[in-house]
Amino acid sequence: MMEWEKQLHQLADRLCYLKDIFPGKHEEDIALLETRLNDTRRKLETCSAEEAQAEMTSLEDLFFFMECKLEDKLTPMDKVRIVRHPHRICLRDILENVYDNYTEIGGQGEHTNDPAMVIARAYITRKRHGKVYHQPVLVMGHEKGHGEEFRNGGSAKPWGNAKAKHYMGVAETEGIPIHAYVFTPGGYPLEDYPGAAQQIARNIYEMAGLTVPLIAVFSEGGSGGAEAISLADKRLMFSHGYYSVISPEGAAAIEGHLRGGARASADLVERCARDLHLTAEDNLKFGYIDKIIQEPVLGARPYHYEFFRTIRQEVIRATDEVVLSARGLAPLRAATLRRFRDRELNLDEFSVRWDLSRKARQRLVEMRQNKFIKASHRECQNRRSIMGRLGDAWSEQWWEIYNRLIYDFYHRNRRTFSNLLEEIGSEWEMLKLRAMKPWNRLHGKTEEPAGNTEELTTLSEWEEDNHSGWAWVSPKAREDRAVSCPYSAQRGCMDMWAPDLYNEFAGVCSSCGHHFPMEYQWIMNNCFDANSLYEFNTEVEAGNPLHFPGFDEKIAEAKRKTGLKSGCITFEARLDGVQVVVAILVGSFRGGSVGVAEGSKFVAAADRARRKRYPFIVYCHGTAGIRIQEGTHGVIQMPRCTVAVRRYIESGGLYLVLYDTKSYGGPVASFLGCAFYQFAIRSSDIGFAGPGVIKNTTGIDIPPDHHNCYKALSRGHIQGVWDRRDVRANLRQALETMGGRNLYYR
């Protein structure tokens, strides 16, 4: 009996695992296994060794058969449960089994700033012609630690992500590849310094220009938390993993309009998991991962040693491929690459050097950037005609050539010339002065005439800039009613009359300065020169790329209500004569959420600003985050737009973000939050997750002003808080004083 105990125990574990993975499902199958297990256990007490052997084999076969049968019936939600199960392999298992040697750095168990984020230096030992090569890599990733409490379920805190970013820099300096393992349900939504959103944005921005190969492996890819380490050259994914914009429960809570932590029904959660298209196959199809690593039946657990060997082969292969393609496709390398596709080749017996020349590093970054810029391109609904698109392409080329001519050639040489002229001129003045000196002394130059008293008492000329009010006035100003300031109890503000408040006061409480939310049109029409707006890419429309049930109607409703085609408006405008490109995220279009259409318009606007050397201003009228109904099509906009932003900034432009009302989630944690110049309109809220989400996920009660822009300023997230009435003047000031050297008016 004793000799079987271990095996029985293991089978019992497997049974428990099944129960966990399939709660309330396949009950008959599981019950059958349970009865058989109990039967066997009873039999073993009495029967002979041979019989026992046969019994055990048959039982193990049955288990395997059942597991295979259930594997075929896995639903997306089952996979989510597999990924979350404490038995699932974790980063430490991978470090132990995939790499030949590893040293955890920046932490030891719980003695680290964030045990959910583990960094390690590891080796992969490869042989070539009998010679041994140790190839160093930097491994980073989320550590769930099989459910260890202090690991926080692999949910990295802001400082954990900061640690990751720091070591990315180390790897870059040392020129070694990075292997990032994504095992996170999402970022921990804490706003304490450096701030969840802010840090994720910085990480994404860093990776958008990181000059070493970066391989990401997804097991659990929870939205923003996953993006913090996964803007990679190759993205691999475990076959039972998920990569999603939101947890199925979160999606269900939104879909079911649940508030205050109420639970959604299992059925709804299951449906949402399916509709989110979060499995490896889905994401491979969309192109957001490059390859699936097949897991054992019902998901990898620490005793699946064969699986670790597969992982090892796959990450080596991915790294080799990235390195070789960055080196350029010389014929020889092309042949090598081809050989890599041969799966049978044991990569341990083969070696590719992983260091890159400066040129190759540049190419690597460029390829990575292109990869992400192109992501989700297919999903974008653009109703622009073929001719229109051709015209656009032509005009883009023209701007490229024009800028070359004007800035790179003409301006550079003109400056030299004018400097020369200036010097000659000042020499001449000096000469003249010296020559005239005796004569001047003789005549005693007359003093300027004393002030004219007439001027002091009569009407002077004055072109008063017309104070007749704002160019655009909110329709709310037409209602005859009083409005209370939300702070009236604390600050004693009196009710204001809507026509005063929404017109002349620009939505600002006249006694305490609280800013009431205003429509996006207010900034759009009052902060730029009159009649200078030229909208482009109007044909891009928000759609329903995942065919999320019921969402077509919701999008249509949003379009009808706002008269817009997507939540992003992009236009060119002038500000005191200075040309700028502006993108607005409209808070009233599906909460300002960002999907493929919005991301595509944003990328196009950044590109346009880059080509024309215009400043790029983003007015975030409000955003609730990534549009969850678009699933990973939405999430991918985070790295995608950040890459566009990085390209723009590095070309020497001015990228300025202005937040208003409420800005949360993915956009803030990526392409908005990475801006060097972020300002907020007073009374706006900025953060990663809203107060309700924080309460639900962390159990921490946060003060009501936790996300207030002044808090964001104190934390160092934003660079300033602006009064709405001063936005125009402040933007003007920013155009003059901020930004890179390649703006057209510099």
């Binding site: 004393a450 004219n452 008293t453 002091l456 008492t457 009407l459 004055w462 002349e504 001063d726 003047a729």
Partner: protein, 473 residues
């Protein structure tokens, strides 16, 4: 005039009492408001006595337009009289009153007039465009340091030419007001420093760097011209001038005399009669130009050598309106400017011209206040146990303080200005009015004590002292 109108009196105290009286005189219905602190005020008692409980509403604050308008709607009022202070010169209130879904008549100038004349720069420019003398200096915000210095320099030169021994220049934030962001310069070398300081202050405080640079005039008399016009705005008339030079240290008026100067009994260094005519003419010219359509006051300062400068226009009824009325007769009859304001405000034509207005005698107004003139005019708070005076035909007292006895004292509310009463004294000439005034003050009985049992302090002695100096430069 349509007698169906009902007037909401959006004010308290003495002015509310006088508006009630004016409404009664005109046969109009009215409704009064009061706060909890003011429940014992005389205006409440008078409103209750005349109009009953239905004419009284308790509100949370006199400063809350919403309270006033909700009472107006509830009580069926059709017009609002703002009195002085509170909403009297708030163009937004006037606009809201007249543009809301249930519009009311605002008994004051139209909101555009209030807005335009409430703007210092606009008023100064309007005056200059009509050749009305204004304080020498800039009439538009100056943003450029060199230009500012040039103006300051010419202002110093200008004053030297005028023979002013210690020329002074004033630098003030053009968007400021109420004595904030204002500084004197007595030396041109200091100018830049002061200019920058004010400019930075203005930028911080008002988000506008604009600065005004003016001559600082010292040693002047404060004169006013009382103007009235009906809704057509075409034929403004005046009710003479007032001299309001006797003030507290905090520049609060304490004693006003009409007319503004008395050349018949006092000798001035300039032709006082001509000067009064001149400022009246200028004031009426401006009123005509802007289509002024209510009562208003043009404020002037007059230097010792008789130069007038327009300071500002007060687009409201003033505390001291009664002193002008005391010396004026319309077609030989007494006049009540508040009643005239209401009557014309409700659309009645004026019905007379300047030729019908005659002037007779000298009027003085005393503001009787519980305060300590020896101690920076600091207000005194406590209970009034006695407040009475002898009745005379040459004397009229306006007060909201109810009859008080030691058993039923009146507690001065702490929320408002500490005015207790206005006494208007008339005499056929300056000598007579001085005698009447002193007689009135001598017999005035004002007693009380505060929480510590200290006796009431008032400015009666101060007023007595000043009575002898009236109208002298």
């Amino acid at each position: 005039m349509n007698k169906q109108h009902k007037v909401l009196i959006a004010n308290r105290g003495e002015i509310a009492v006088r508006i009630i009286q004016a409404c009664v005189k005109l046969g109009l219905d009215f409704v009064c408001v009061h706060t909890a602190e003011d429940a014992c005020s005389g205006h409440v008692a008078l409103a209750r006595e005349i109009g009953g409980e239905k004419s009284l509403y308790r509100i949370s604050s006199y400063h809350d337009a919403n309270e006033l308008l909700s009472v107006a709607d509830e009580s069926g009022a059709t017009a609002v009289h703002p009195g002085y202070g509170f909403f009297a010169e708030d163009f937004r209130f006037a606009r809201r009153v007249t543009e809301r879904e249930r519009p009311l008549v605002f008994l004051g100038p139209s909101w555009r007039v209030i807005r335009d004349l409430g703007d210092k720069i606009n008023t100064k420019r309007l005056a200059r465009s009509l050749g009305v003398p204004t304080v020498p200096g800039s009439d538009r915000p100056i943003y450029d340091e060199l230009e500012a210095e040039k103006i300051a320099r010419s202002l110093f030169d200008f004053q030297m030419q005028q023979g002013i021994a210690r020329p002074l220049v004033l630098v003030k934030a053009s968007a400021g007001g109420g004595g904030m962001g204002i500084e004197e310069v007595y030396d041109i070398d200091m100018f830049r420093q002061v200019y920058r300081r004010i400019r930075n202050y203005a930028m911080r405080q008002f988000k506008d760097e604009g600065v005004l640079i003016e001559q600082r005039i010292k040693d002047f008399n404060h004169l006013e011209v009382q103007v009235l016009s009906d809704r057509t705005g075409r034929h403004p008339v005046h009710f003479g001038t007032r001299n309001c030079s006797i003030q507290s240290t905090g520049r609060q008026k304490r004693l006003e005399v009409a007319p503004g100067f008395d050349p018949s009994s006092i000798k001035y260094d300039f032709d006082a009669a001509a000067l009064l005519d001149e400022i009246v003419m200028h004031s009426l010219n401006m009123a005509r130009k802007v289509g002024y359509d209510s009562v208003g006051t043009w404020e002037w300062i007059v230097t010792r050598d008789g130069q007038p400068f327009l300071m500002e226009v007060n687009t409201r009824i003033q505390v001291e309106n009664g002193v002008s009325a005391a010396i004026s007769r319309v077609k030989g009859k007494e006049v009540d400017l508040i009643a005239e304001q209401i009557r014309t405000g409700l659309g009645d034509p004026l019905g007379y011209t300047q030729d019908d207005i005659t002037f007779n005698g000298v009027g003085v107004e005393y503001r009787i206040i519980a305060e300590d003139p020896d101690n920076g005019f600091s207000p005194w708070v406590g209970d009034i146990t006695r407040f009475s005076w002898d009745e005379h035909e040459w004397c009229r007292v306006h007060t909201h303080v109810p009859p008080a006895t030691p058993e039923h004292p009146y507690t001065i509310p702490t929320e408002f200005d500490p005015n207790l009463a206005l006494a208007i004294i008339w005499g056929k000439d300056l000598a007579e009015v001085t005698a009447h005034g002193l007689a009135f003050l001598d017999t005035l009985r004002l007693e009380g004590h505060d929480g510590k049992g200290e006796p009431l302090k008032s400015n009666v002695e101060f007023l007595k002292k000043k009575t002898e100096r009236m109208l002298r430069f």
